[in-house]
Amino acid sequence: MHELTDRALNLAQVKGATYADIRIVRRETQDITVKNGIVQELALDSTQGFGVRAIADGAWGFASSHLLTATEVDRVTALAVAIAKASALTKIQDVEIGPAEAHQDTYRTPVAIDPFSVSLNDKVSLLIEADREARAVPGVAVAESSMAFIRERKTFASTEGSYIEQEIIESGLGLVTTAVSEGEVQQRSYPNSFGRHQSTAGYEFIQQWDLVGNARRMGEEAVALLSAPQCPGRMTTLILDGPQLALQIHESCGHPIELDRVFGTEAAFAGTSFLTPEKYGRFRYGSEIVNITADAVTPGGLGTFGYDDEGVPAQRTDIVKNGQFVGYLTSRETASQLRRIHPDAPARSNGAMRADGWNRIPIIRMTNVSLQPGEWALDDLIADTDDGIYMLTNKSWSIDDKRLNFQFGTELAYEIKKGRLGRMLKNATYTGITPQFWGNCDAICKAEHWHVWGTPNCGKGQPGQVAHTGHGTAPARFRNVQVGVMK
């Protein structure tokens, strides 16, 4: 591999690059889906290639190819530098990427059981059994269960002297049951909705989640929801379960702290952020008990790795401390930009740049953006709530392009009356404005309820990129929330 990386880095400098890096990536994926007792999907996919990123004339260029040959490395490297020079035509100031990062290292996701060593037969059998359990419930129209496994091997080398080899392994699983009646469709998902729950882990992760043992309950809940009353519209107290809170954090905290968004680079697509630079260190994001961190080191987190795709080591960063907004997710370039505005900001990136494969340029992505646990037992929290709604598992989501006004729907909800869970409610929704919502957070459950949920489908960037992010959460309570938006 050294031969190709050295070739690219040398040629980039000869062509006029002041900085260059190359990533060589090989990704294997295995996807299995069982739907209504039939294996609908069993696919083994692989993709490989390389991307060269260069700064020339003070601007960025990037080019990539699937052909791993010396000739193609030469062509692509020259193209990356030429593109950088074209970018310079609109340049306002030279790109700065801060202090040099030079690391020689290797990293591999720690796994107990290599998921690619487990037979397809064992995997299919488990999904078939879960499917059978779910469809044993009268009224279940569709059961769909799936597993996904990813192995990504990547080599990063830069003109600053880095040479880093990583192997990231992911395992994921999920089951969704659908019940249908006249004019109504209801779904229940386990362990999480929208595909699956996923982790940087081996097959032991699949074994930890008892898909078969929970399939029948998912079917029963989906059927029960068909005849459940509609979630009423009112202002009330809201308790969110871990998976829903994970998406709440993802959308209302994770995205607005991406410093490239803050500086406008997503303005025409995903949007910008209400957390503008003047708010850095001096904006009340939530109540005193709200502590949010971003880290790439939590074991099993879907945003866990050794080095980001700029070769910056994995780190842990405070984002919200005692309710106060104190940190962004940064890249080398945006960390330098922020420091020009706030000289006290860290000079180095906190390592959040990731690319969706060899053919994409790294952009700032969430690592594991997590709400730190509080002190409550979930039973005590419900017992302490006189009147409210408990919502579980995301069903729909939407948020404005500065990440202020949000509206979420959940698969399942229960009334809370005088400290007890009451009737099941369907089509539950809630809406709010981000800092007001987090300002009304008055209780967070303790560490025994805390889990890192994987979000394997975060879209951003042009051309589009899908990132895999993690969010540690325990259930939490929010006061004065508008629920039941849909009549």
């Binding site: 993709t47 074209a86 406008g264």
Partner: protein, 448 residues
Amino acid sequence: MLGKEKLQKIADRVLALSSADQTEVLILSNDEHLTRFAANAIHQNVSEKDVAVRVRAVLGKKIGVASGNDLSEAALQKVVESAETVACFQQDNPDFNSLPEPRPVQERAAYAAATAAYTPEARARGVATICSASRQKGLEAAGAFSTATAEIMAANSLGVSAYHCSTLAHIVTVIMSDTSSGYAAATAQDVSELDLEAVGRVALDKALRSRNPTEIEPGAYTVILEEAAVADMLSTLGYLGFGALAVQEGRSFMNGRFGQQITGDNITIWDDGCDPRGLAFPFDFEGMPKQHVTLIKNGVAKAVVYDSFTAGREEGKVSTGHSLPAPNTFGPFPLNLFMAPGTATKEEILASTERGIWVTRFHYTNPVHPVKTVLTGMTRDGTFLIENGQIARPLKNLRFTQSILEALNRAEMLGAELKLVKRGWGSSATCAPAAKIHEFQFTGTTEF
């Protein structure tokens, strides 16, 4: 670009390597370039070249899929073997009958040499046009300018062999002041047909006119939705229920309503991959010719789209040419939606509106209740109050929560112009008119 002959050779080689009962090979070759800008300068400028080979192997009623992007003989052989191995581990799929038999596909011209040859410097100069106009007004432009060449070869062991080559050029920009933003976009197969200055002018004008917006109470308002907002609603309908699998599983809004009035009688929606007003793509990912499928005619639910698998599950149905790449658990999908235009210009629609809200486009729309087609999302990049047939003032953005079918039941006027609105993926695009709709439900506001 590899060309038809080379892709055919790869396809033939893959089919020859396979010992499965039936084999399908799908080759997707792309050469894509994108220049992204923000704060009036290019910040990301990328190029990509890839060729992916996807093999579907059929053993009786067992199906396996594998893919790779290494075109060496050994790698192709490995992909074929993987697909066959995977098929061996399958159980029979009783609903699967066969890969499709060949059917004639009409070639559609979709390639422009100017787009294929476009250089990074030319893209940078185009971007500079927009950035310069924005800077002169003290505003900041962001956006992306892309050019791409794509080839597709779909072949199978029953004799299907379809090849298509296309180019695509797309520009999108959002120009911002401290308190406002304006959006414009354009798509063409020939980059020389894009008028970048005009795109910049529209976004700039809207950014200037939407400065210092004020709030309005949420509630039911008459709206004038520009084409991008209507296209967003149509795309959601396509996702929720215009495919046969959704109907077969009982989760489509079309279930039990075929032949019934589900929208106003001025609404006609169809899918057509061969209509030159859209992005021509004459066959699907199984190599089946794309049919014109009328989904809703004069408000009456008529039909949905099929691939070979869903067609095989119903007596007398054939694929309408709407397959996605295998393996596909989502089912067939309409990638080229159209909505019939009306007769009014947007100026005439505006003049006819005593009080209402003008919406440039929506942001982050998502279904809340799929069967009722209830959608929520935000307005974005140019929202205005209409009073006495004129734009009165800019508004802060609003959240809507609204059933699409109910909205299309209250569409009083439709624009005469159909606009091509590119969706996120490949050559998927929707052609939609502007629409004036009564009692559109806004359920919240935001701070900008």
